[in-house]
């Protein structure tokens, strides 16, 4: 059973869209797959939401429709051949817009709300106030599921430094956040500010929210603010700028005459700003006794109070502490508990737990690609599958993609078999636009983001494979446990929470920009255990996710097939010494820098070794003494490793370099990128190589490796002999048995 969501508009900065995204997160944590469908999908969000016209639910599915102002989707909901639910975000009372075009849409929205009532299996209000309106509209089975907030996204560290700087200055600073609409009563904020100026001439008023510069209402506000100092209309802000505005404010003020929930109230609480709010509609419920609510707008009085809240710590601090306590009510955990109660009667009962631990557990191995593909994590997944096959009944759950840049479907969907391992492939539904993806990456990397942006990045990263997610959600009884590979990709980010209670993750963590995304918390905190490849990887995880799941360094086994370097030289006509790199040839792997260093080396030294490159290429590879061989087979690779002067590992982002271990296994030393802690650790522990960070250290390292090739090679061989597959297999089995045993109990 899938739980889809239907929403009129899914665009950035929309509270309803954010609610849908949050609901999807909770539903995944509850084990339900499902997509978001919208009438209007914001530019760049096509990976997260599909057009409403594409919604084709199965009879057993549930569609939750987010209702606000009038939308044709309400009619569509009533005719959907499945179970239906309404999530009500409230509608502004039409009395505020009498005689304006908006009035019709508001009343029509209420008529639609009532019309849907007999057709809804469940109705969800985001506040008790909204739930009461649902009952008044004729709904039964009404529940309150509050919106939630991620407080860490409103920390000072999440604020835009430029905006913080821009807004720094004397106080007190009053802040109002919402769309500039008449019923939000921005004019009352201005009146209050006028009163505050009488007490504190340096006071400022920040007004945040989308507005139409030419609108009558906004122009009237501008007229009202004319002659008052310190009034700033900031308009719509990015998330980081919004946090900066909150963090610059002394008091958050809401003069709104109607709120069905009041998201800015809890955002202000999360940003540790005292809240002063007119007790309209659901505002008292949202505040729940925290902050300060009032029932009459006496501006001189509240100017005094706003100044007190700004300056009197004996008043301010207890209010902030109370707001922080109140925030617990708006946590993801509270919302999930409420949602579980709301959906209780609609969901199938969970299957009974097995009475005894199966001898040969059925394990689903989830990885983004599988088969004839180049990639360290994918290769590791294949090796683990092959070594675990005698102990587990493994099914590899993967996509039909071969190329990780485009995710184009290359393998046929459905059952397959690779080297005796069962594989079940699901089609990828979206081809990646790598240029657009790189542009988005530049926008979101190393900056504080809202969840929507991070989810958008994961969707663009891909591969988007709803079939795989649906399989995970609906066939839980077919597997005793799951083994996910690589933290980074969408199948893990969105698939792991579906089965987290039975999942192990081999994260292959790199210290790279995306790991700073808060969205990956579910990936590192929810599985039963994280199986790391090196101690350095563990350090990275602890740095970014202190609340991570149990970890264990399992390492990786290394095969040592017989190899002949001379055979490789002869086959490819190589006369000189050569450096070797085998892997994906792309800038992200540091190949560009390697080519530059090699070019400089050739210019300085006539007897400089050649550079042999092998693997799939996504970049131009040329230069004096550079040989690109394309994909080579396994035997060829081991022959190449055995015959190389040294193996170069240019990547900065590694969780473990299999290539390094395979080089050691052939008695060949390595020259690795010294900016990767993992590679430095591998070299330091083995003593079988050197590191480089620039051209000089590259040349120096190469000279040392050349001089000491034989003793270094021996050290490398000794190092890998300690890392055998039997130990690795035993560790995986132990962790899976722990899951089975715990689930049985």
């Amino acid at each position: 059973m899938a739980i889809h969501q239907l929403i009129p508009s899914f665009v950035p900065g929309d509270a309803t869209g954010q609610a849908a995204l949050h609901l999807q997160l909770l539903l995944r944590r509850m084990g339900h797959a499902g997509a978001i469908y919208a009438d209007e999908v914001g530019a760049g969000l096509e990976g997260l939401a599909s057009p409403a016209s594409a919604l084709r639910p199965e009879p057993g599915d549930l569609v939750l429709y987010h209702h606000g102002i009038a939308s044709p989707l309400s009619s569509r909901l009533m005719h959907l051949p499945c179970r239906r639910g309404v999530v009500f975000h409230n509608i502004s009372p039409a009395r505020f817009y009498t005689g304006l075009p908006l009035e019709d849409a508001l009343v029509a929205g209420r008529a639609q709300l009532a019309a849907m009532a007999p057709f809804a299996d469940v109705a969800i209000g985001v506040s008790d106030f909204n739930a009461a309106e649902l009952r008044a509209a004729g709904y039964r089975n009404v529940h309150t599921v509050p919106l939630f907030i991620e407080p860490e996204r409103f920390s000072r560290a999440s604020a835009d430094p430029k905006m913080l700087q821009r807004l720094s200055g004397p106080g007190p600073v009053l802040l109002g956040v919402s769309r500039v609409m008449p019923h939000k009563r921005f004019e009352d904020l201005i009146t209050l500010h006028r009163e505050v100026l009488r007490l504190r001439p340096q006071a400022r008023l920040l007004m945040v929210g989308g507005y139409e510069p030419g609108s009558r209402y906004f122009r009237s506000l501008k007229r009202e603010a004319k002659g008052l100092s310190g009034v700033h209309f900031l308009g719509r802000l990015s998330h980081a700028q919004l946090v900066a505005a909150y963090r610059s404010a002394s008091v958050f003020v809401s003069m709104s005459e109607h709120e069905g929930f009041g998201v800015p109230l809890i955002e202000a609480m999360a940003a540790e700003v005292p809240v002063l709010a007119y007790a309209a509609a659901a505002v008292p419920e949202t505040l729940g006794g925290a902050g300060v609510a009032f029932d009459q707008k006496r501006f001189a009085f509240f100017a005094e109070l706003a100044v007190d809240l700004s300056e009197d710590l004996s008043l301010r601090e207890p209010v902030i502490a109370g707001q922080t306590r109140r925030l617990e009510h708006f946590s993801a955990e509270s919302a999930q508990a409420a949602l579980s109660r709301a959906l209780e009667g609609l969901l199938p009962r969970p299957a009974p737990r097995p009475r005894r631990v199966p001898k040969r557990p059925r394990v689903g191995l989830v990885v983004q690609r599988y088969g004839e593909v180049t990639g360290g994590a994918e290769k590791l997944a294949a090796q683990v599958a092959e070594h675990m096959a005698p102990h587990w009944d493994i099914t590899v759950l993967t996509t039909c993609a071969k190329n990780h840049l485009s995710w184009e479907n290359a393998f046929p969907p459905g059952p397959d078999e690779v080297d005796g391992i069962k594989v079940l492939r699901f089609p990828s539904t979206r081809v990646r636009n790598i240029r657009g993806f790189n542009g988005l990456s530049r926008q979101v990397f190393d900056k504080p983001n809202e969840r929507l942006r991070e989810e958008q990045w994961v969707a663009e990263q891909g591969p988007l494979c709803p079939g795989l997610l649906n399989h995970l959600a609906t066939t839980r009884d077919a597997y005793d446990g799951y083994l996910f590979f690589t933290y980074l990709y969408a199948p893990t980010v969105w698939g792991l929470p579906l089965v987290a209670d039975r999942a192990l993750l081999v994260p292959t963590t790199h210290d790279e920009s995306p790991i700073r995304f808060g969205l990956y918390a579910d990936v590192f905190e929810r599985p039963r255990a994280l199986l790391c490849l090196t101690p350095e990887e563990l350090t990275i995880i602890e740095k970014y996710f202190p609340d991570h799941a149990r970890t264990r360094v399992v390492g990786v086994g290394v095969d040592r097939p017989a190899a002949d370097g001379a055979r490789f030289r002869e086959k490819h006509g190589l006369r000189k010494h050569y450096l070797l790199y085998v892997g994906r040839q792309e800038p992200g792997k540091g190949v560009g820098e390697l080519l530059e260093h090699h070019h400089a080396l050739k210019e300085r030294y006539a007897d400089a070794p050649d550079l042999v490159l092998a693997g799939d290429s996504n970049m131009e590879l040329s230069g004096e003494g550079v040989r690109y061989l394309g994909r080579i087979d396994e035997q060829d690779k081991h022959d190449a490793l055995a015959g190389a002067l040294a193996v170069v590992v240019p990547s900065r982002y590694e969780s473990l370099s299999l290539l390094t271990l395979e080089a050691f296994a052939q008695g060949t030393p390595v020259l690795v990128n010294g900016r990767s802690d993992v590679l430095v650790g591998q070299v330091e522990r083995s003593g079988a190589g050197r590191t480089y960070t620039d051209l000089d250290s590259f040349i120096r390292g190469l000279r040392e490796v050349g001089d000491e090739r034989t003793p270094m090679g021996k050290k490398g061989l000794e190092y890998v002999k300690k890392q055998g597959w039997p130990q690795v297999v035993a560790a995986y089995r132990e962790e899976m048995e722990r899951i089975l045993e715990e689930n049985r109990q």
């Binding site: 179970r83 975000h89 709300l113 707008k297 001189a300």
Partner: protein, 269 residues
């Protein structure tokens, strides 16, 4: 006036600030009328939609002139008015068939909704005869696809129900009443007395029946002679025609096609 907050010494704070206001020579504790507010009443969809269809069936009739823009926006209004004035005859020609079509849609909807209301009344009467409470099965949401059992003839179903009285008989448990329309008291320390609230149509009662619709006021005044609807003559008017005149800028003709309203979204910052 009330200050609500668990973490503030409300009384002390009020008296402290009142004292300061007194020292500043500002009025304190003046009586202010607290606006009434409660849960919004239910809008009966069948009646609302019928009225909306009647109001908007004539595609040649203009929506009232409106602009959300000040200043130069007024010029746009004048331009729109001039267009209507000069081109109404062409608008009538271009939208003639649409007007006829809309009239059929309106009449069909009127007929169907009247039938639904009549059937609902009959169902209510039948239920009343059975004991006042809908059978459990009837309280389930209406499926989009008619289940097989629903396709059996009513008489057959009645026989089945008689044969299985335990299953079909309405239980003695009272039907779930509509909740009070104000938020729960513990979650709503609003400080507004109940007497301040406007009575709402749905408060404390079952949802309104079709005939007891809560309807919005007509959004716009229909203009005078030049604005005569071109819908079928004699069609019933669901809403009274207010006599208020159009805005000076609109004059009487006001025959304008409305620019599509921007899509309304939730809160945007």
């Amino acid at each position: 006036m009330k200050l609500l907050g668990r973490d503030i010494p409300a009384r002390e704070l009020i008296s402290r600030i009142e004292e300061r206001l007194r020292l500043r020579g500002l009025p304190t504790s003046e009586p202010v009328e607290v606006p009434a507010e409660g849960v919004e009443p239910r809008v009966e969809p069948l009646t609302f939609n019928l009225h909306a269809l009647e109001e908007n069936a004539d595609a040649t009739r203009a929506l009232p002139l409106h602009t959300h823009r000040g200043g130069a926006g007024q010029l746009v209004l004048v331009a729109k008015w001039a267009f209507r004035k000069s081109c109404q005859v062409f608008i009538n020609e271009a939208l003639g068939r649409q007007r006829v079509f809309n009239g059929h849609v309106r009449d069909s909807y009127a007929q169907l909704s009247a039938e639904v209301i009549r059937l609902r009344r009959e169902v209510e009467e039948l239920r009343a005869r059975l004991g006042g409470r809908p059978p459990e099965d009837d309280r389930r949401p209406i499926p989009a696809q008619t289940p097989a059992v629903a396709k059996t003839a009513p008489s057959e179903r009645a026989v089945e129900e008689r044969e299985a009285p335990e299953k079909a008989r309405p239980s003695a448990k009272p039907a779930p009443a509509v909740e009070p329309t104000k938020p729960p008291a513990k979650e709503a320390p609003r400080g507004k007395s109940a007497s301040h609230r406007k009575p709402t149509a749905g408060s404390g009662t079952e949802p309104l029946a079709a005939g007891e619709a809560v309807l919005p006021k007509p959004r716009h005044a229909r203009s005078g002679a030049g604005q005569q609807p071109r819908a079928r003559e004699g069609a019933p008017r669901a809403r009274p025609e207010p006599e208020s005149s159009a805005t000076p800028a609109t004059g009487n003709a006001g025959q304008r096609a409305r620019k599509p309203a921007p899509k309304q979204r939730g809160r945007r910052k």
